[in-house]
Chain length 330, copies 2
Protein backbone atom coordinates (compact mmCIF):
# COMPACT_ATOMS: atom_id res chain seq x y z
CA UNK A 1 0.00 0.00 0.00
CA UNK A 2 1.31 3.44 -0.97
CA UNK A 3 -0.60 6.35 0.52
CA UNK A 4 0.25 9.90 1.51
CA UNK A 5 -0.47 9.47 5.21
CA UNK A 6 1.39 9.19 8.51
CA UNK A 7 0.11 6.58 11.00
CA UNK A 8 -3.11 4.92 9.83
CA UNK A 9 -4.69 5.54 13.25
CA UNK A 10 -4.35 9.29 12.82
CA UNK A 11 -5.87 9.66 9.36
CA UNK A 12 -9.31 10.97 10.31
CA UNK A 13 -8.03 13.47 12.88
CA UNK A 14 -5.27 14.76 10.60
CA UNK A 15 -7.64 14.91 7.63
CA UNK A 16 -10.20 16.80 9.71
CA UNK A 17 -7.66 19.31 10.91
CA UNK A 18 -6.22 19.66 7.41
CA UNK A 19 -9.69 20.34 6.07
CA UNK A 20 -10.53 22.95 8.69
CA UNK A 21 -7.17 24.64 8.11
CA UNK A 22 -7.92 24.83 4.39
CA UNK A 23 -11.44 26.21 4.81
CA UNK A 24 -11.49 28.28 8.01
CA UNK A 25 -14.27 30.48 6.65
CA UNK A 26 -16.63 27.52 6.24
CA UNK A 27 -16.06 24.87 8.91
CA UNK A 28 -14.68 24.08 12.33
CA UNK A 29 -13.42 20.66 13.29
CA UNK A 30 -13.86 19.38 16.81
CA UNK A 31 -11.26 16.74 17.34
CA UNK A 32 -12.70 15.02 20.41
CA UNK A 33 -15.90 13.82 18.72
CA UNK A 34 -14.73 14.26 15.12
CA UNK A 35 -17.45 16.77 14.33
CA UNK A 36 -17.28 19.16 11.38
CA UNK A 37 -19.44 22.14 12.22
CA UNK A 38 -20.71 25.12 10.29
CA UNK A 39 -18.79 28.25 11.18
CA UNK A 40 -21.93 30.11 12.19
CA UNK A 41 -24.92 28.24 13.58
CA UNK A 42 -28.40 29.76 13.25
CA UNK A 43 -30.29 28.44 16.29
CA UNK A 44 -33.66 29.46 14.82
CA UNK A 45 -33.60 27.09 11.86
CA UNK A 46 -33.86 23.32 11.74
CA UNK A 47 -30.38 21.84 12.15
CA UNK A 48 -29.22 19.24 9.63
CA UNK A 49 -26.68 16.58 10.53
CA UNK A 50 -25.22 13.80 8.44
CA UNK A 51 -22.08 11.71 8.67
CA UNK A 52 -20.90 8.16 8.58
CA UNK A 53 -17.65 6.36 8.05
CA UNK A 54 -14.71 8.31 6.64
CA UNK A 55 -13.27 7.44 3.24
CA UNK A 56 -16.09 9.02 1.23
CA UNK A 57 -14.60 12.53 1.07
CA UNK A 58 -15.73 15.17 0.32
CA UNK A 59 -18.79 13.56 1.99
CA UNK A 60 -19.97 14.68 4.41
CA UNK A 61 -17.74 17.47 5.74
CA UNK A 62 -17.65 19.00 2.26
CA UNK A 63 -21.39 19.65 2.47
CA UNK A 64 -21.37 21.55 5.74
CA UNK A 65 -22.29 25.17 5.11
CA UNK A 66 -24.97 27.55 3.94
CA UNK A 67 -27.89 25.76 2.34
CA UNK A 68 -26.79 22.26 3.32
CA UNK A 69 -25.58 20.67 6.58
CA UNK A 70 -24.92 22.20 9.99
CA UNK A 71 -22.66 19.36 11.08
CA UNK A 72 -21.08 16.18 9.78
CA UNK A 73 -19.86 13.45 12.11
CA UNK A 74 -16.93 11.33 10.98
CA UNK A 75 -16.34 7.72 11.95
CA UNK A 76 -13.12 5.89 11.26
CA UNK A 77 -12.54 4.81 7.68
CA UNK A 78 -15.60 2.81 6.60
CA UNK A 79 -16.89 2.59 10.20
CA UNK A 80 -19.93 4.37 11.63
CA UNK A 81 -19.39 7.19 14.11
CA UNK A 82 -20.48 6.18 17.62
CA UNK A 83 -23.79 7.23 19.13
CA UNK A 84 -21.85 9.43 21.57
CA UNK A 85 -20.21 11.31 18.70
CA UNK A 86 -23.56 11.87 16.97
CA UNK A 87 -25.21 12.87 20.27
CA UNK A 88 -22.60 15.55 20.81
CA UNK A 89 -23.09 16.85 17.29
CA UNK A 90 -26.83 17.13 17.93
CA UNK A 91 -26.21 18.95 21.21
CA UNK A 92 -23.88 21.42 19.59
CA UNK A 93 -26.00 22.56 16.66
CA UNK A 94 -29.65 22.01 17.64
CA UNK A 95 -31.87 24.85 18.79
CA UNK A 96 -35.58 25.03 19.42
CA UNK A 97 -36.45 24.28 15.79
CA UNK A 98 -35.05 20.77 16.21
CA UNK A 99 -32.74 18.64 14.14
CA UNK A 100 -32.96 16.25 11.19
CA UNK A 101 -30.46 13.39 10.91
CA UNK A 102 -29.71 12.32 7.34
CA UNK A 103 -28.47 8.76 7.65
CA UNK A 104 -27.15 6.52 4.91
CA UNK A 105 -28.87 3.16 5.26
CA UNK A 106 -26.17 0.95 6.77
CA UNK A 107 -26.92 -1.09 9.88
CA UNK A 108 -24.16 0.50 11.97
CA UNK A 109 -25.07 4.06 11.00
CA UNK A 110 -28.79 3.48 11.61
CA UNK A 111 -28.17 1.99 15.02
CA UNK A 112 -25.80 4.71 16.20
CA UNK A 113 -27.73 7.67 14.81
CA UNK A 114 -30.97 6.25 16.28
CA UNK A 115 -29.39 5.81 19.73
CA UNK A 116 -28.00 9.35 19.55
CA UNK A 117 -31.47 10.68 18.69
CA UNK A 118 -32.93 8.91 21.74
CA UNK A 119 -30.20 10.36 23.96
CA UNK A 120 -30.88 13.86 22.61
CA UNK A 121 -34.63 13.49 23.10
CA UNK A 122 -33.99 12.84 26.77
CA UNK A 123 -32.45 16.32 26.80
CA UNK A 124 -35.73 17.62 25.35
CA UNK A 125 -34.31 18.19 21.89
CA UNK A 126 -36.57 17.46 18.91
CA UNK A 127 -34.85 15.02 16.57
CA UNK A 128 -36.19 13.30 13.46
CA UNK A 129 -34.35 11.10 10.97
CA UNK A 130 -34.42 10.00 7.36
CA UNK A 131 -32.58 7.01 5.89
CA UNK A 132 -31.19 7.31 2.38
CA UNK A 133 -31.36 4.11 0.32
CA UNK A 134 -30.72 5.17 -3.26
CA UNK A 135 -28.49 2.31 -4.40
CA UNK A 136 -30.58 0.08 -6.67
CA UNK A 137 -27.85 -2.58 -6.95
CA UNK A 138 -28.77 -4.87 -4.10
CA UNK A 139 -31.42 -5.40 -1.47
CA UNK A 140 -29.74 -6.51 1.75
CA UNK A 141 -25.98 -6.88 1.71
CA UNK A 142 -22.92 -7.19 3.86
CA UNK A 143 -23.62 -4.03 5.86
CA UNK A 144 -27.25 -3.31 5.11
CA UNK A 145 -30.81 -4.43 5.56
CA UNK A 146 -32.62 -2.97 2.59
CA UNK A 147 -30.87 -0.81 0.05
CA UNK A 148 -27.63 1.07 0.66
CA UNK A 149 -27.31 4.84 0.80
CA UNK A 150 -24.76 6.27 -1.63
CA UNK A 151 -24.21 9.45 -3.70
CA UNK A 152 -27.92 10.36 -3.79
CA UNK A 153 -27.43 11.39 -0.17
CA UNK A 154 -25.75 14.58 -1.38
CA UNK A 155 -28.92 15.62 -3.20
CA UNK A 156 -31.02 14.85 -0.13
CA UNK A 157 -28.70 17.09 1.88
CA UNK A 158 -29.03 19.80 -0.77
CA UNK A 159 -32.82 19.81 -0.84
CA UNK A 160 -33.41 19.35 2.89
CA UNK A 161 -30.75 22.00 3.52
CA UNK A 162 -32.59 24.50 1.33
CA UNK A 163 -35.86 23.76 3.14
CA UNK A 164 -34.21 24.28 6.53
CA UNK A 165 -32.56 27.47 5.36
CA UNK A 166 -35.86 29.02 4.25
CA UNK A 167 -37.32 28.34 7.69
CA UNK A 168 -39.46 25.22 7.18
CA UNK A 169 -40.56 23.29 10.26
CA UNK A 170 -38.74 20.13 11.29
CA UNK A 171 -41.65 18.00 10.12
CA UNK A 172 -41.66 19.68 6.74
CA UNK A 173 -37.89 19.38 6.27
CA UNK A 174 -38.21 15.68 7.07
CA UNK A 175 -41.10 15.31 4.61
CA UNK A 176 -39.14 16.99 1.81
CA UNK A 177 -36.05 14.91 2.54
CA UNK A 178 -38.22 11.80 2.41
CA UNK A 179 -39.78 12.88 -0.89
CA UNK A 180 -36.28 13.37 -2.30
CA UNK A 181 -35.21 9.93 -1.10
CA UNK A 182 -38.15 8.40 -2.96
CA UNK A 183 -37.16 10.14 -6.19
CA UNK A 184 -33.38 9.54 -6.19
CA UNK A 185 -31.69 6.34 -7.39
CA UNK A 186 -28.06 5.39 -7.97
CA UNK A 187 -25.94 2.58 -9.36
CA UNK A 188 -22.15 2.18 -9.20
CA UNK A 189 -19.41 0.35 -11.05
CA UNK A 190 -15.82 -0.36 -9.99
CA UNK A 191 -12.79 -0.79 -12.21
CA UNK A 192 -10.48 -1.37 -9.24
CA UNK A 193 -10.90 -2.06 -5.56
CA UNK A 194 -10.29 0.48 -2.85
CA UNK A 195 -7.59 -0.05 -0.23
CA UNK A 196 -8.60 0.62 3.37
CA UNK A 197 -5.50 2.14 5.06
CA UNK A 198 -5.74 0.04 8.24
CA UNK A 199 -5.93 -3.14 6.16
CA UNK A 200 -3.29 -2.18 3.64
CA UNK A 201 -4.39 -4.45 0.81
CA UNK A 202 -7.22 -4.15 -1.73
CA UNK A 203 -10.68 -5.09 -0.41
CA UNK A 204 -11.31 -7.31 -3.42
CA UNK A 205 -9.56 -8.46 -6.57
CA UNK A 206 -10.63 -7.69 -10.10
CA UNK A 207 -9.08 -9.17 -13.20
CA UNK A 208 -7.45 -6.85 -15.73
CA UNK A 209 -10.54 -7.12 -17.96
CA UNK A 210 -13.19 -7.23 -15.25
CA UNK A 211 -15.47 -4.69 -13.60
CA UNK A 212 -17.76 -4.97 -10.55
CA UNK A 213 -21.20 -3.85 -11.67
CA UNK A 214 -23.32 -2.50 -8.82
CA UNK A 215 -20.44 -2.03 -6.39
CA UNK A 216 -21.06 -0.31 -3.05
CA UNK A 217 -19.05 2.60 -1.66
CA UNK A 218 -17.12 0.33 0.70
CA UNK A 219 -16.20 -2.14 -2.00
CA UNK A 220 -19.16 -4.39 -1.21
CA UNK A 221 -20.03 -6.78 -4.00
CA UNK A 222 -22.53 -5.57 -6.54
CA UNK A 223 -24.88 -7.24 -8.97
CA UNK A 224 -22.22 -9.19 -10.81
CA UNK A 225 -18.66 -9.36 -12.03
CA UNK A 226 -18.58 -8.48 -15.73
CA UNK A 227 -16.14 -8.10 -18.59
CA UNK A 228 -14.96 -4.52 -19.17
CA UNK A 229 -17.25 -2.56 -21.44
CA UNK A 230 -17.29 0.78 -23.21
CA UNK A 231 -18.51 3.94 -21.52
CA UNK A 232 -21.55 3.91 -23.80
CA UNK A 233 -22.46 0.30 -23.00
CA UNK A 234 -22.10 1.03 -19.29
CA UNK A 235 -24.28 4.12 -19.59
CA UNK A 236 -26.99 2.10 -21.35
CA UNK A 237 -27.09 -0.55 -18.63
CA UNK A 238 -26.90 1.86 -15.70
CA UNK A 239 -29.55 4.19 -17.11
CA UNK A 240 -31.85 1.26 -17.90
CA UNK A 241 -31.84 0.30 -14.25
CA UNK A 242 -32.41 3.84 -12.99
CA UNK A 243 -35.08 4.73 -15.54
CA UNK A 244 -36.91 1.51 -14.70
CA UNK A 245 -36.75 2.12 -10.96
CA UNK A 246 -37.98 5.71 -11.26
CA UNK A 247 -40.51 4.92 -14.00
CA UNK A 248 -39.16 7.85 -16.04
CA UNK A 249 -41.05 8.93 -19.15
CA UNK A 250 -40.51 11.65 -21.73
CA UNK A 251 -42.42 14.06 -19.52
CA UNK A 252 -39.89 13.89 -16.74
CA UNK A 253 -37.18 16.31 -15.80
CA UNK A 254 -34.15 15.04 -13.88
CA UNK A 255 -30.87 15.95 -12.23
CA UNK A 256 -27.94 13.75 -13.27
CA UNK A 257 -24.95 13.18 -11.01
CA UNK A 258 -21.88 11.45 -12.46
CA UNK A 259 -19.85 10.69 -9.37
CA UNK A 260 -16.21 9.61 -9.37
CA UNK A 261 -15.33 7.05 -6.71
CA UNK A 262 -11.97 8.62 -5.85
CA UNK A 263 -9.44 7.28 -8.34
CA UNK A 264 -11.24 8.11 -11.58
CA UNK A 265 -9.91 10.83 -13.90
CA UNK A 266 -12.35 13.66 -14.60
CA UNK A 267 -11.74 12.93 -18.28
CA UNK A 268 -13.61 9.63 -17.97
CA UNK A 269 -16.48 11.15 -15.98
CA UNK A 270 -17.09 13.66 -18.77
CA UNK A 271 -16.83 11.03 -21.53
CA UNK A 272 -19.43 9.01 -19.59
CA UNK A 273 -21.65 12.08 -19.17
CA UNK A 274 -21.60 12.49 -22.95
CA UNK A 275 -22.91 8.95 -23.35
CA UNK A 276 -25.52 9.44 -20.62
CA UNK A 277 -26.86 12.53 -22.39
CA UNK A 278 -27.03 10.86 -25.78
CA UNK A 279 -29.15 8.06 -24.32
CA UNK A 280 -31.41 10.38 -22.31
CA UNK A 281 -31.85 12.58 -25.35
CA UNK A 282 -32.97 9.60 -27.43
CA UNK A 283 -35.66 8.95 -24.80
CA UNK A 284 -36.67 12.63 -24.60
CA UNK A 285 -35.93 12.76 -20.89
CA UNK A 286 -35.02 16.34 -20.02
CA UNK A 287 -31.90 17.00 -17.94
CA UNK A 288 -32.44 20.04 -15.73
CA UNK A 289 -28.94 20.06 -14.24
CA UNK A 290 -25.79 17.92 -14.16
CA UNK A 291 -23.17 17.37 -11.48
CA UNK A 292 -19.87 15.79 -12.50
CA UNK A 293 -17.07 15.17 -10.00
CA UNK A 294 -16.04 13.34 -6.85
CA UNK A 295 -19.02 13.76 -4.52
CA UNK A 296 -19.16 10.47 -2.61
CA UNK A 297 -16.04 8.39 -2.95
CA UNK A 298 -14.73 5.01 -1.88
CA UNK A 299 -11.20 6.14 -0.95
CA UNK A 300 -9.10 5.43 -4.07
CA UNK A 301 -11.48 3.22 -6.04
CA UNK A 302 -11.48 3.69 -9.82
CA UNK A 303 -15.01 3.71 -11.13
CA UNK A 304 -18.10 5.85 -10.94
CA UNK A 305 -21.70 5.93 -9.88
CA UNK A 306 -24.64 7.41 -11.71
CA UNK A 307 -27.43 9.09 -9.75
CA UNK A 308 -30.72 10.34 -11.14
CA UNK A 309 -33.09 12.59 -9.20
CA UNK A 310 -36.59 12.93 -10.64
CA UNK A 311 -37.70 16.50 -10.06
CA UNK A 312 -41.07 17.90 -9.07
CA UNK A 313 -41.78 21.65 -8.99
CA UNK A 314 -41.52 21.53 -5.20
CA UNK A 315 -38.10 19.87 -5.23
CA UNK A 316 -36.84 22.01 -8.09
CA UNK A 317 -37.35 25.24 -6.17
CA UNK A 318 -35.27 23.84 -3.32
CA UNK A 319 -32.64 22.40 -5.66
CA UNK A 320 -32.22 25.88 -7.16
CA UNK A 321 -31.63 27.60 -3.82
CA UNK A 322 -28.10 28.82 -3.04
CA UNK A 323 -25.58 26.53 -1.37
CA UNK A 324 -22.07 27.47 -0.35
CA UNK A 325 -19.99 24.62 1.03
CA UNK A 326 -16.51 23.28 0.40
CA UNK A 327 -17.64 20.81 -2.24
CA UNK A 328 -20.97 22.13 -3.48
CA UNK A 329 -21.68 25.57 -4.91
CA UNK A 330 -25.02 26.71 -6.24
Amino acid sequence: MKKIINQTDDIVIQMGKGMALAHPDKIEFEEKYKIFKRKTINPKKVALISGGGSGHEPAHAGYVGTGMLDAAVAGDVFASPSSVQVYHAIKQVTGEAGCLLIVKNYSGDCMNFDTAAEMAEEDDLKVLSVYVNDDVAVKDSLYTIGRRGVAGTVLVEKIAGAAAERGDSLENVQLLAQKTIEQVKSIGVALTSCTVPAKGTPTFDLGSDEIEFGVGIHGEPGIERRKSMTSHALAVEMLDLLIGELGLTDEDEIVVMVNGLGGTPLQELYVFNHDVRAILSSKNIHVYDTLVGNYMTAIDMAGLSLTVLKLTDELKALYDAPADTIAYHK
Copy 2:
Protein backbone atom coordinates in the same frame (compact mmCIF):
# COMPACT_ATOMS: atom_id res chain seq x y z
CA MET B 1 -5.83 -0.77 -19.26
CA LYS B 2 -9.32 -0.31 -17.83
CA LYS B 3 -10.89 3.07 -18.51
CA ILE B 4 -14.43 4.37 -18.88
CA ILE B 5 -14.07 5.48 -22.47
CA ASN B 6 -15.17 4.43 -25.94
CA GLN B 7 -12.58 4.64 -28.73
CA THR B 8 -9.33 6.24 -27.58
CA ASP B 9 -9.37 8.54 -30.65
CA ASP B 10 -12.64 10.09 -29.53
CA ILE B 11 -11.78 10.89 -25.92
CA VAL B 12 -11.11 14.62 -26.24
CA ILE B 13 -14.17 15.32 -28.38
CA GLN B 14 -16.48 13.23 -26.21
CA MET B 15 -15.04 14.70 -23.04
CA GLY B 16 -15.46 18.23 -24.41
CA LYS B 17 -19.06 17.62 -25.39
CA GLY B 18 -19.76 15.93 -22.06
CA MET B 19 -18.29 18.90 -20.24
CA ALA B 20 -20.31 21.47 -22.21
CA LEU B 21 -23.47 19.41 -21.69
CA ALA B 22 -22.84 19.41 -17.94
CA HIS B 23 -22.14 23.16 -17.70
CA PRO B 24 -24.19 24.87 -20.42
CA ASP B 25 -24.40 28.07 -18.39
CA LYS B 26 -20.59 28.44 -18.28
CA ILE B 27 -18.97 27.13 -21.46
CA GLU B 28 -19.43 26.23 -25.09
CA PHE B 29 -17.33 23.60 -26.83
CA GLU B 30 -16.40 23.99 -30.45
CA GLU B 31 -15.66 20.55 -31.78
CA LYS B 32 -13.77 21.50 -34.93
CA TYR B 33 -10.87 23.23 -33.19
CA LYS B 34 -11.49 21.78 -29.71
CA ILE B 35 -12.02 25.20 -28.17
CA PHE B 36 -13.80 25.71 -24.84
CA LYS B 37 -15.22 29.19 -24.88
CA ARG B 38 -16.82 31.41 -22.29
CA LYS B 39 -20.58 31.58 -22.76
CA THR B 40 -20.57 35.35 -23.05
CA ILE B 41 -17.55 37.16 -24.45
CA ASN B 42 -16.92 40.77 -23.46
CA PRO B 43 -15.12 42.28 -26.48
CA LYS B 44 -14.00 45.33 -24.49
CA LYS B 45 -11.74 43.52 -22.05
CA VAL B 46 -8.42 41.77 -22.64
CA ALA B 47 -9.09 38.18 -23.69
CA LEU B 48 -7.27 35.40 -21.86
CA ILE B 49 -6.50 32.07 -23.51
CA SER B 50 -4.76 29.04 -22.18
CA GLY B 51 -4.71 25.39 -23.12
CA GLY B 52 -2.38 22.55 -23.84
CA GLY B 53 -2.55 18.81 -24.02
CA SER B 54 -5.60 17.08 -22.58
CA GLY B 55 -5.31 14.77 -19.60
CA HIS B 56 -4.89 17.55 -17.03
CA GLU B 57 -8.60 18.06 -16.36
CA PRO B 58 -10.12 20.21 -14.98
CA ALA B 59 -7.31 22.28 -16.61
CA HIS B 60 -7.87 24.30 -18.62
CA ALA B 61 -11.54 24.13 -19.62
CA GLY B 62 -12.52 24.17 -15.95
CA TYR B 63 -11.06 27.67 -15.62
CA VAL B 64 -13.01 29.26 -18.45
CA GLY B 65 -15.48 31.77 -17.05
CA THR B 66 -15.92 35.00 -15.16
CA GLY B 67 -12.67 36.20 -13.62
CA MET B 68 -10.45 33.70 -15.38
CA LEU B 69 -10.10 32.50 -19.00
CA ASP B 70 -12.09 33.39 -22.10
CA ALA B 71 -11.05 30.26 -23.95
CA ALA B 72 -9.11 27.05 -23.45
CA VAL B 73 -7.72 25.09 -26.39
CA ALA B 74 -7.40 21.32 -26.01
CA GLY B 75 -4.82 19.17 -27.69
CA ASP B 76 -4.93 15.41 -27.74
CA VAL B 77 -3.95 13.67 -24.51
CA PHE B 78 -0.52 15.01 -23.51
CA ALA B 79 -0.03 16.68 -26.93
CA SER B 80 -0.03 20.39 -27.66
CA PRO B 81 -2.94 21.86 -29.58
CA SER B 82 -1.90 22.93 -33.09
CA SER B 83 -1.17 26.52 -34.00
CA VAL B 84 -4.29 26.50 -36.16
CA GLN B 85 -6.44 25.55 -33.18
CA VAL B 86 -4.93 28.31 -31.05
CA TYR B 87 -5.22 30.82 -33.89
CA HIS B 88 -8.94 30.12 -34.19
CA ALA B 89 -9.38 30.51 -30.44
CA ILE B 90 -7.67 33.92 -30.60
CA LYS B 91 -9.87 34.97 -33.54
CA GLN B 92 -13.03 33.96 -31.72
CA VAL B 93 -12.52 35.77 -28.42
CA THR B 94 -10.22 38.71 -29.09
CA GLY B 95 -11.53 42.26 -29.44
CA GLU B 96 -9.74 45.58 -29.64
CA ALA B 97 -8.25 45.20 -26.14
CA GLY B 98 -6.13 42.32 -27.37
CA CYS B 99 -5.36 38.90 -26.02
CA LEU B 100 -2.92 37.30 -23.58
CA LEU B 101 -1.84 33.71 -24.10
CA ILE B 102 -0.98 31.83 -20.89
CA VAL B 103 1.31 29.03 -22.03
CA LYS B 104 2.77 26.24 -19.92
CA ASN B 105 6.46 26.02 -20.71
CA TYR B 106 6.69 22.93 -22.91
CA SER B 107 8.46 23.10 -26.24
CA GLY B 108 5.43 22.01 -28.26
CA ASP B 109 3.06 24.42 -26.55
CA CYS B 110 5.47 27.35 -26.86
CA MET B 111 6.03 26.71 -30.55
CA ASN B 112 2.35 26.35 -31.42
CA PHE B 113 1.06 29.23 -29.29
CA ASP B 114 3.84 31.49 -30.67
CA THR B 115 2.99 30.61 -34.26
CA ALA B 116 -0.70 31.21 -33.56
CA ALA B 117 0.14 34.64 -32.10
CA GLU B 118 2.08 35.53 -35.26
CA MET B 119 -0.84 34.43 -37.45
CA ALA B 120 -3.26 36.54 -35.40
CA GLU B 121 -0.98 39.58 -35.54
CA GLU B 122 -1.17 39.40 -39.31
CA ASP B 123 -4.92 39.90 -38.85
CA ASP B 124 -4.10 43.05 -36.82
CA LEU B 125 -4.95 41.49 -33.48
CA LYS B 126 -2.82 42.43 -30.48
CA VAL B 127 -1.46 39.30 -28.86
CA LEU B 128 1.03 38.93 -26.01
CA SER B 129 2.15 35.78 -24.20
CA VAL B 130 3.49 34.58 -20.87
CA TYR B 131 5.14 31.23 -20.21
CA VAL B 132 4.55 29.53 -16.87
CA ASN B 133 7.53 27.64 -15.45
CA ASP B 134 6.66 26.97 -11.82
CA ASP B 135 7.99 23.40 -11.49
CA VAL B 136 11.22 23.58 -9.50
CA ALA B 137 12.01 19.89 -10.03
CA VAL B 138 14.13 20.04 -13.14
CA LYS B 139 15.71 22.46 -15.52
CA ASP B 140 15.38 21.13 -19.08
CA SER B 141 13.67 17.78 -19.49
CA LEU B 142 12.06 15.48 -21.98
CA TYR B 143 9.59 18.07 -23.27
CA THR B 144 11.01 21.33 -21.98
CA ILE B 145 13.81 23.81 -22.27
CA GLY B 146 13.87 25.49 -18.88
CA ARG B 147 11.39 24.64 -16.20
CA ARG B 148 8.03 23.02 -16.74
CA GLY B 149 4.67 24.70 -16.21
CA VAL B 150 2.39 22.85 -13.84
CA ALA B 151 -0.34 23.61 -11.27
CA GLY B 152 0.86 27.17 -10.61
CA THR B 153 -0.64 27.99 -14.00
CA VAL B 154 -4.08 27.98 -12.38
CA LEU B 155 -3.05 30.82 -10.07
CA VAL B 156 -1.60 32.77 -13.00
CA GLU B 157 -4.94 32.35 -14.76
CA LYS B 158 -6.75 33.51 -11.61
CA ILE B 159 -4.71 36.67 -11.15
CA ALA B 160 -4.40 37.65 -14.80
CA GLY B 161 -8.11 36.91 -15.18
CA ALA B 162 -8.98 39.31 -12.38
CA ALA B 163 -6.80 42.02 -13.94
CA ALA B 164 -8.47 41.55 -17.32
CA GLU B 165 -11.91 41.58 -15.74
CA ARG B 166 -11.32 44.93 -14.02
CA GLY B 167 -10.33 46.47 -17.33
CA ASP B 168 -6.53 46.55 -17.22
CA SER B 169 -4.64 47.08 -20.49
CA LEU B 170 -3.08 44.14 -22.30
CA GLU B 171 0.39 45.25 -21.25
CA ASN B 172 -0.66 45.46 -17.62
CA VAL B 173 -2.38 42.08 -17.64
CA GLN B 174 0.80 40.60 -19.09
CA LEU B 175 2.91 42.34 -16.45
CA LEU B 176 0.76 41.04 -13.60
CA ALA B 177 0.76 37.53 -15.05
CA GLN B 178 4.55 37.73 -15.27
CA LYS B 179 4.83 38.95 -11.68
CA THR B 180 2.69 36.00 -10.59
CA ILE B 181 4.88 33.58 -12.54
CA GLU B 182 7.92 34.89 -10.71
CA GLN B 183 6.27 34.32 -7.33
CA VAL B 184 4.75 30.85 -7.86
CA LYS B 185 6.65 27.58 -7.48
CA SER B 186 5.56 23.93 -7.48
CA ILE B 187 6.92 20.45 -6.89
CA GLY B 188 5.19 17.12 -7.52
CA VAL B 189 5.45 13.53 -6.35
CA ALA B 190 4.03 10.36 -7.93
CA LEU B 191 2.98 7.17 -6.16
CA THR B 192 1.92 5.52 -9.41
CA SER B 193 2.33 6.23 -13.10
CA CYS B 194 -0.42 7.54 -15.30
CA THR B 195 -1.69 5.51 -18.26
CA VAL B 196 -2.11 7.40 -21.54
CA PRO B 197 -5.20 5.90 -23.22
CA ALA B 198 -3.66 5.63 -26.70
CA LYS B 199 -0.66 3.75 -25.28
CA GLY B 200 -2.64 1.57 -22.91
CA THR B 201 0.16 0.78 -20.47
CA PRO B 202 1.70 2.81 -17.63
CA THR B 203 4.22 5.47 -18.74
CA PHE B 204 6.74 4.31 -16.13
CA ASP B 205 7.07 1.64 -13.48
CA LEU B 206 7.41 2.24 -9.76
CA GLY B 207 8.12 -0.42 -7.18
CA SER B 208 5.58 -1.08 -4.45
CA ASP B 209 7.69 0.96 -2.00
CA GLU B 210 8.92 3.65 -4.40
CA ILE B 211 7.85 7.17 -5.28
CA GLU B 212 8.97 9.52 -8.04
CA PHE B 213 10.02 12.76 -6.36
CA GLY B 214 9.73 15.76 -8.66
CA VAL B 215 7.51 14.05 -11.25
CA GLY B 216 6.05 16.09 -14.11
CA ILE B 217 2.39 16.18 -15.11
CA HIS B 218 3.01 13.86 -18.06
CA GLY B 219 4.86 11.31 -15.99
CA GLU B 220 8.25 12.78 -16.90
CA PRO B 221 11.03 11.75 -14.54
CA GLY B 222 11.63 13.97 -11.57
CA ILE B 223 14.55 14.61 -9.26
CA GLU B 224 14.95 11.03 -8.13
CA ARG B 225 13.31 7.75 -7.36
CA ARG B 226 12.92 7.40 -3.58
CA LYS B 227 11.59 5.01 -0.99
CA SER B 228 8.03 5.73 0.15
CA MET B 229 7.86 8.22 3.00
CA THR B 230 5.26 9.63 5.35
CA SER B 231 3.10 12.58 4.45
CA HIS B 232 4.99 14.69 6.98
CA ALA B 233 8.42 13.76 5.60
CA LEU B 234 7.20 14.54 2.09
CA ALA B 235 5.83 17.89 3.21
CA VAL B 236 9.17 18.78 4.82
CA GLU B 237 11.14 18.03 1.67
CA MET B 238 8.72 19.66 -0.73
CA LEU B 239 8.36 22.80 1.36
CA ASP B 240 12.11 23.07 1.81
CA LEU B 241 12.51 23.29 -1.94
CA LEU B 242 9.74 25.82 -2.42
CA ILE B 243 10.70 28.01 0.53
CA GLY B 244 14.29 28.07 -0.71
CA GLU B 245 13.28 28.95 -4.27
CA LEU B 246 11.00 31.77 -3.15
CA GLY B 247 13.28 32.93 -0.36
CA LEU B 248 10.34 32.93 2.05
CA THR B 249 10.77 34.46 5.49
CA ASP B 250 8.49 34.90 8.47
CA GLU B 251 7.27 38.16 6.98
CA ASP B 252 5.74 36.49 3.98
CA GLU B 253 2.16 35.64 3.21
CA ILE B 254 1.40 32.83 0.80
CA VAL B 255 -1.31 30.88 -0.99
CA VAL B 256 -0.93 27.11 -0.72
CA MET B 257 -2.32 24.74 -3.34
CA VAL B 258 -2.36 21.01 -2.59
CA ASN B 259 -3.14 19.51 -5.96
CA GLY B 260 -4.20 15.92 -6.56
CA LEU B 261 -2.79 14.37 -9.73
CA GLY B 262 -6.01 12.51 -10.63
CA GLY B 263 -5.99 9.23 -8.74
CA THR B 264 -5.36 10.55 -5.22
CA PRO B 265 -8.10 10.38 -2.58
CA LEU B 266 -9.10 13.75 -1.09
CA GLN B 267 -8.41 12.15 2.31
CA GLU B 268 -4.68 12.09 1.56
CA LEU B 269 -4.63 15.65 0.22
CA TYR B 270 -6.10 16.92 3.50
CA VAL B 271 -3.74 14.83 5.65
CA PHE B 272 -0.88 16.33 3.63
CA ASN B 273 -2.28 19.85 4.07
CA HIS B 274 -2.26 19.28 7.81
CA ASP B 275 1.46 18.49 7.66
CA VAL B 276 2.15 21.45 5.39
CA ARG B 277 0.49 23.80 7.83
CA ALA B 278 2.33 22.46 10.85
CA ILE B 279 5.65 23.08 9.10
CA LEU B 280 4.72 26.55 7.83
CA SER B 281 3.44 27.46 11.26
CA SER B 282 6.76 26.47 12.84
CA LYS B 283 8.46 28.86 10.43
CA ASN B 284 5.91 31.65 11.06
CA ILE B 285 5.00 31.80 7.39
CA HIS B 286 1.43 33.04 7.11
CA VAL B 287 -1.03 31.17 4.89
CA TYR B 288 -3.51 33.59 3.38
CA ASP B 289 -5.58 30.97 1.56
CA THR B 290 -5.48 27.26 0.74
CA LEU B 291 -6.72 25.31 -2.27
CA VAL B 292 -7.06 21.54 -1.94
CA GLY B 293 -8.32 19.36 -4.79
CA ASN B 294 -7.69 18.17 -8.31
CA TYR B 295 -6.66 21.33 -10.18
CA MET B 296 -4.04 20.12 -12.67
CA THR B 297 -3.95 16.36 -13.07
CA ALA B 298 -1.92 13.74 -14.90
CA ILE B 299 -4.87 11.55 -15.97
CA ASP B 300 -5.07 8.82 -13.30
CA MET B 301 -1.73 9.32 -11.54
CA ALA B 302 -1.72 8.83 -7.77
CA GLY B 303 0.30 11.56 -6.12
CA LEU B 304 0.14 15.27 -5.56
CA SER B 305 1.88 18.53 -6.19
CA LEU B 306 2.42 21.39 -3.82
CA THR B 307 2.30 24.95 -5.10
CA VAL B 308 3.18 28.09 -3.15
CA LEU B 309 2.37 31.59 -4.35
CA LYS B 310 4.12 34.42 -2.51
CA LEU B 311 1.67 37.29 -2.28
CA THR B 312 2.19 41.01 -2.61
CA ASP B 313 -0.57 43.55 -1.90
CA GLU B 314 -1.00 43.99 -5.63
CA LEU B 315 -1.44 40.27 -6.29
CA LYS B 316 -3.62 39.77 -3.23
CA ALA B 317 -6.25 42.21 -4.42
CA LEU B 318 -6.50 40.31 -7.69
CA TYR B 319 -6.45 36.92 -5.96
CA ASP B 320 -9.44 38.04 -3.88
CA ALA B 321 -11.54 39.10 -6.86
CA PRO B 322 -14.55 36.92 -7.77
CA ALA B 323 -14.17 33.97 -10.11
CA ASP B 324 -16.94 31.71 -11.30
CA THR B 325 -15.83 28.79 -13.42
CA ILE B 326 -16.52 25.06 -13.44
CA ALA B 327 -13.57 24.21 -11.19
CA TYR B 328 -12.73 27.45 -9.39
CA HIS B 329 -15.08 29.55 -7.25
CA LYS B 330 -14.08 32.66 -5.39
